[in-house]
Amino acid sequence: MNELELVEKAKSGDNKAFEELVRRTQNKIYNLGLKILGNKDDAADLLQETYIKAYESLPNFEGKSSFYTWLYKIATNFALMKLRKEKYKKISIDEIKQASNGNYKFEISDWSNNPHIQYKNEELKDILNEAINSLPPKYKTIFILHDIDGLSISEISEILSLSISTIKTRIHRSRLYLREKLSEYFKKKGN
């Protein structure tokens, strides 16, 4: 049975159909939670809250977007709410804007073929993880949705109710900021 048929059945009160939708989508939602929130407990909370909300709101689901996009919207809103409460050090919006400003003094060294990235480099992984986690919540979420999960800009625009140009700007700034952090790392390593 395809997604649309399952959604229709679930909407008319077929709980088995809803459970089948949960089974088909739960890994994606759980992984989204792990990526955005960074730990298993919060990802489990996100998973639970997403499907409870989805179950309760199912009668209002009009099918204008795909069921996935709708779930992502619920999950992302929950994640953003949780992220805003977190107290770990985040960079300011000004800092991230500055890193993508044309006048910015970019760290220029071409490390794209650096041997350190050919191996399983845990240090590099930590640096990148820390940099992604330090992005302001909406920047981080947009970066993960687009560059990690592969959602299109228009899907993200729908999920976060933001304009296409805002999404694009935030993706661009996040990328340049992360690039800069990696450049600093490779500079220390002697490129």
Partner: protein
């Protein structure tokens, strides 16, 4: 187009969202500008590396069990 304007186009270029004329301008520019070429290469590599740091996992059985319990207790309401 100067370097400042080229850098603004880098993400659209990577995402293949750039119209042909601008794409050609960017491609010509990075052929002669080492700085912009480096920023483009390292930005692409940053995206590539970011994808690599996450490994997709299955929902652990225990978490799945609690999830279905939480959903099912709502059926009667």
């Amino acid at each position: 187009m100067d370097c400042r304007e080229i850098i603004k186009l880098i993400s659209d270029y990577i995402d293949r969202e750039l119209e042909q004329v601008k794409r050609e301008i960017l491609e010509e520019h990075v052929k002669v500008c080492e700085r912009c070429k480096t920023i483009l290469n390292t930005t692409e590599k940053t995206i590539f590396l970011s994808k690599k740091i996450y490994k997709n996992k299955k929902v652990p059985r225990k978490i799945e069990k609690v999830l279905f319990y939480q959903i099912r207790i709502r059926y009667k309401k």
